[in-house]
């Protein structure tokens, strides 16, 4: 019987391995037949939005870009939703960051602790909070 894990991710991705770990862990669980709920809470909500590239050439050097690209998770997050992960945000933490109205990556749902998170917990076997 497949088991369901709910991950609460508190860290955004920028130069922070917590988010990378959470996304990679989610993919591994899905590939083994498990189910994943991912709740993007606090800084984690920064992972929900579609990227908005700067027009023209970015001032970031090639070396720095190569480093930063390792932390860009938007494609991996959309892949998780295609694999069946349920991903929801906390819109309250988005509000305080000024991103509440920003477009979401495909498959990511707008949510909150009172409904989305609690609903996740009602059908989960394992709960894990990652990040700080």
């Amino acid at each position: 019987m497949s088991r369901t894990i709910t991950l609460v991710l508190l860290s955004g991705s920028t130069e922070n391995d917590d988010a990378v770990f959470a996304v990679n862990l989610s993919k591994a669980i899905l590939e083994k037949g498990g189910k994943v709920n991912l709740f993007l809470y606090g800084n984690g909500c920064n992972l929900a939005n579609k990227p908005v590239p700067v027009e023209g050439r970015s001032a970031i050097s090639d070396a720095l870009r190569a480093h930063m690209d390792g932390y860009v998770l938007s494609e991996k997050i959309e892949e998780l939703t295609r694999l069946g992960a349920k991903i929801a945000t906390c819109h309250t933490t988005e509000y305080s960051r000024g991103t509440e109205g920003c477009p979401y990556l495909d498959g990511v749902e707008r949510g909150d602790v009172g409904n989305s998170y609690t609903r996740f917990l009602m059908a989960t076997d394992v709960l894990l909070a990652i990040g700080n």
Binding site: Y41, G42, T93, G114, L121, T124, L127, N132
Partner: protein, 111 residues
């Protein structure tokens, strides 16, 4: 489905994860109907001093709705805080009791 969940808060007031932990605990208790136990340890014990504003109100509402609140005694001692300084209703626990809380809950999350 879980019935008992521990929420551990380790961060001081003024750091977002402290409020996120309180808010999650409150939501699990009131929306989910879980038995939620809040355990403050480390710098998290400063959240139990009777804070004004949103965070303090959230904690008082959590307790009024039946959530239980615990403080790790050694964390209080290390910070020069006496149990009398805490808001009413907080149970001070030692390390063994905290371990038992974790052992008999279905889930424990830390903020």
């Amino acid at each position: 489905m879980f019935s008992t969940v521990n929420v551990v808060v380790r961060k001081t007031p003024g750091q977002e994860p402290a409020v996120l932990g309180l808010r999650a605990a409150w939501a699990m208790l009131t929306n989910g109907g879980f038995d939620v136990r809040l355990l403050c340890m480390g710098d998290g014990v400063f959240n139990l001093l009777g804070l004004p504003g949103y965070a303090g109100d959230m904690l008082r509402r959590f307790m009024a709705e039946g959530g239980s609140v615990h403080a790790l005694g050694t964390s209080l001692e290390e910070r020069g805080l006496s149990p009398e300084a805490l808001i009413d209703g907080v149970e001070v626990v030692d390390a063994e009791e905290a371990a038992e809380m974790v052992q008999d809950a279905e889930a424990t999350t830390a903020y």
